[in-house]
Symmetry: C2
DNA sequence: TCGGGGAAGTTGGCTGTACAACTCGAGCAA
DNA sequence: TTGCTCGAGTTGTACAGCCAACTTCCCCGA
């Protein structure tokens, strides 16, 4: 961001700084600079790739935010690690995540409701009182083993697309994307809860047993809520990782 | 990032874009633009604050990364919410966090070891075999109620500073900062574990009871590890929240 | 051998300019 | 009323140049 200046034009097929970032990411992952090694200077990279220093800085800002490299005024950038941060979609979509770790995702829709939104649900999805919502309950599997139970509410428009899908459709977010529903932002909260009777029955754990809960609210580029979901994972099946830095923070810790 | 150009001179007392970002954050929090409202255009903000558009974009990039506003090409920015994301230090330091939520932090050092680093510990802190480490075990309280147990290992240099502090010193990171130890990056992983005998005794929970675990590795601006810590929270005392977007992702989900 | 001074190198911050891609509403036509 | 086109407005991407603040390292003197 904040590339101030202008020039030759937006991306022909994708912004140049993104391609540069991808290039550097790959180079780092392949160990070209070693762990703890020093990157070339911005000027050198600019000349090597035939772009301006501003563009190089945009690319490096991406890597910086992802925790791949440090940066200090006066000193060359240092490789922190090959922390392969996952894309936005791999965090949003169970299916994308499962595939990215080489597992086979599965899903079974257990229950669907179409009804009037309660006050809380209106608040969560930013709806007016009296709006309709869809509520979907799904059991998610990794290599056919139940891992997670997902309770999602959708506003009318989105839910209508969802219910048209087959009950055992693996992915819900991908068909939505194909129909022009664009996910852009999400807020996730992770904590610990205890299994109720339904959780226990579907996941095959003891009632009252501990589960990792992830609550999520996703919006489109305009800020309109697209879904609100509460996911509950069996212990030991998942962990959540975040990188943050003085320069860039997105995570917070809250009183439970 | 990527402000390309140059100009009038670095910050006199702090970068201008940071002050601008703070200003806008406050304005948003005070509801000046409303939730879902539209921000002024970059050009308008630039004129209003007497800075260039590039600087405005740097400020807005910060808000964007914090999930306060959206941004799409062609449309004005929209206020997403007043999500008060906490600073890097409030996630790194229990003390800072406790104060930020208006609670009284407390701590009691239970045990300190000074010994040879094992192979795993060398790996975690990036040390050579044969290095010395300090291992500190602390019980953390919120308003005198035990909340969390903290097992931290420090490299020789840092640990030597730590052990000079009083056993019931509230904060460890703040004295370090005063002695010139600068924290710059951290990686946090959150999952679920079961209490062992020591956890149960100190936290007053049942052995085998569920706990939220946060593992953390913090480094200085040069990428040198400063501490590695494993914290275990009682259920219901804490939750972790992250905002991510297509443009900026820092969180990832991992197979447990 | 040790320490200080200084110069070169590097990143952070800021401005200005230019063009491309996209949104959105006004206005017009069917 | 509906649907379309068009243009003004807005953000995204990119380049060029400048100065400040900081790190690093060489070199020289004690």
């Amino acid at each position: 961001m904040a590339g101030a200046g202008g020039g030759a034009g937006g991306g022909v097929a994708g912004a140049r700084y993104r391609r540069l970032a991808a290039d550097l990411r790959e180079a780092i992952a392949s160990g070209a600079y070693g762990s703890g090694g020093r990157l070339p200077s911005e000027e050198e990279l600019a000349q090597k790739y035939g772009v301006s220093r501003g563009t190089v800085r945009q690319a490096l800002a991406v890597l910086r935010a992802n925790g791949l490299v440090t940066s200090r005024r006066g000193s060359r950038r240092v490789v922190l690690g090959t922390a392969r941060t996952q894309s936005f979609f791999e965090l949003l979509s169970f299916t994308r995540w499962a595939r990215s770790i080489g597992e086979e995702p599965g899903g079974r829709t257990v229950d669907v409701e179409h009804r009037l939104a309660g006050p809380l649900e209106c608040e969560l999805l930013g709806l007016l009182a009296g709006s309709q919502i869809y509520r979907v309950l799904r059991l998610r599997t990794l290599s056919r083993v139940p891992i997670m139970i997902e309770r999602t509410i959708y506003p009318e428009r989105i839910g209508a697309m969802i219910v048209r899908l087959e009950p055992d459709a693996v992915s819900h977010t991908e068909p939505l994307a194909e129909q022009g529903v664009v996910f852009a932002d999400a807020e996730h909260t992770v904590d610990l809860v205890y299994a109720d009777a339904e959780d226990a029955r579907l996941l095959g754990c003891a009632e009252g047993g501990p589960l990792i809960r992830e609550r999520r609210r996703a919006t489109d580029p305009a800020g309109t809520p697209l879904e609100w979901s509460e996911d509950r994972y069996l212990p030991g099946t998942v962990s959540f990782t975040v990188h943050n830095s003085v320069a860039m923070t997105a995570l917070s810790r809250r009183r439970g």
